[in-house]
Symmetry: D2
Subunit: 187 residues, 4 copies
Amino acid sequence: MSRSNTAMLIIDMMNKMDFEGGEDLLKHSIPMVDRLVALKERVKGKDIPIIYVNDNFGQWQDNAANIIEECMKKPGKEVVEKILPEENDYFIIKPKHSGFFGTQLDILLHQLGIDNLILTGIAGDICVLFTANDAYMREYNLYVPKDCMASEKESDNENAIQIIKRSLMADTTESTELDLDSFVQKK
Amino acid sequence: MSRSNTAMLIIDMMNKMDFEGGEDLLKHSIPMVDRLVALKERVKGKDIPIIYVNDNFGQWQDNAANIIEECMKKPGKEVVEKILPEENDYFIIKPKHSGFFGTQLDILLHQLGIDNLILTGIAGDICVLFTANDAYMREYNLYVPKDCMASEKESDNENAIQIIKRSLMADTTESTELDLDSFVQKK
Amino acid sequence: MSRSNTAMLIIDMMNKMDFEGGEDLLKHSIPMVDRLVALKERVKGKDIPIIYVNDNFGQWQDNAANIIEECMKKPGKEVVEKILPEENDYFIIKPKHSGFFGTQLDILLHQLGIDNLILTGIAGDICVLFTANDAYMREYNLYVPKDCMASEKESDNENAIQIIKRSLMADTTESTELDLDSFVQKK
Amino acid sequence: MSRSNTAMLIIDMMNKMDFEGGEDLLKHSIPMVDRLVALKERVKGKDIPIIYVNDNFGQWQDNAANIIEECMKKPGKEVVEKILPEENDYFIIKPKHSGFFGTQLDILLHQLGIDNLILTGIAGDICVLFTANDAYMREYNLYVPKDCMASEKESDNENAIQIIKRSLMADTTESTELDLDSFVQKK
């Protein structure tokens, strides 16, 4: 069996949601997370690696377990507990908005031989958008299923999807319509 | 006299405008460039450094003079000739959309002691937006006068301004209202 | 009390030492670690932040606790247990040789307002050297106490110290002679 | 015809040599440049791209023609005029010691599909060494012909060659012994 050249990123889903505006983000994330869980399951079935890319929440101690533990004590728990990382998932801590800035993400993707990226998570108009921008400049083919990202405001989420589609030429097909088999071959 | 800790970026204004959609971008850039020229003049009067950050147009030979010369042979000339770099302006060639990606921009800003950035240029929904994102992650204070950027479509330009304002907490005050004296002191 | 603009890096001391050549590196690290512990203690007394910068050992899961646990099961334990990170120390995981490559180190140093770096650890001719190079290009003032780094071969360690001294203009004064009070003021 | 996955870097050979120590560097570069010219010719015969990677000498205006012109007015002329870039050579301006730091080099190499790098130029113990380090972390296969680099002091040049060989696992075979045909196939 050939190794997949696709990876799926799950951005900032380990989240406290205790900041200003977090309530709205949580509200929009609750229906989204179920779709994301379903997509993750299908993706894992194709041996496509899953990479959590998550905020450090100001910890600077690169301890994923602590970050998750802290999030489970906060309002974010409602979403976090549904999409906890599994043992063979990767977990990359990011200090800023883009998953590529100040992280080992690009090095890992290079070692895995990744050409295609499926991007999911929150917030769509900040961390997903920033990560998509950086991925585009690094010449990955982008898939950003529009039903697997959420933002505080729906209109901002819509704006971000438009930018991702038009400026980054990403495929924003809904998760249930994504043909994962087409990725496995695609260079 | 104290050195300014502000710099003004002029993004991709040396532009061929000969690509698909270039006609629309040119159409929106023509009225904008006059406002940009006026802002550049005021800014130079305050000894704020001007940094052109411009696409390499696939040349990979880091020869600014060639890039400008090529643009002067194309439809972009109408805009290019109004805002040509002057002798003491900096000129940074970028290979991708963000002015920070694969360039010496951040190193130059560090050496100049810059904390505040005024961002201008085209296209608002791609290169200005990407550069603004990267500047925000590097913790610069951002000023993106909304009348000194242009995009192919007005609605996309508007989207980008919203993202820049909301996600990057940039000041998008119009150029004529910008109080440049306030920058000089501001840390 | 003013915040320090100096930080101390402890590079790759959480180490399995189970690779080819690890025996020699361990042999040279054993006498060195005692000097390093003494320096760390003096440094902490001056409220200078301590930042562990450590290899990911191929884990890609950003879980510092796991890395340390794994090292404690290996020959490296003899050194590791003497210099374990304390609760208020930072811990940055690096995927490659330089502490700046694919990590949040530079962002953390920027947020802490650091200008001076004290570099220590192993291996002197690889990870300490690479990190020193990158720190030099980012314009930090460098202090690399020559008795607080070790390499597999003494001659290679000596070579690296020469390069660090001559090419990077680092101060390589021995740890016991380092005047930490001078850092606190120094810009 | 298949494209080569090898590129040759010529580092800082456009050089003023008017700094302290420049006299010694020039002295060691004069016999070296003839070997470098011969290697460049052989390399071009194999359709391996040549990339000049050169200091900005504080210009920050990304104008290769100016840099070369300035160097031709200085002592460096004696070396510069022998190895001037040709029309189809790439030219990348770097602001610091490593050719990868603050430049478009890595992006260009990615677009060219490069896996193997031949590194040459000056100074061996600074800019060649730093560039080699960064290339190694980015997982390029390295060839650093030991007779095509020079430093101010011979002993420092020797040190750098040792580091490059041992820590970076580079092939340091002399230029005349390099089997260029083996590169063309090698992945």
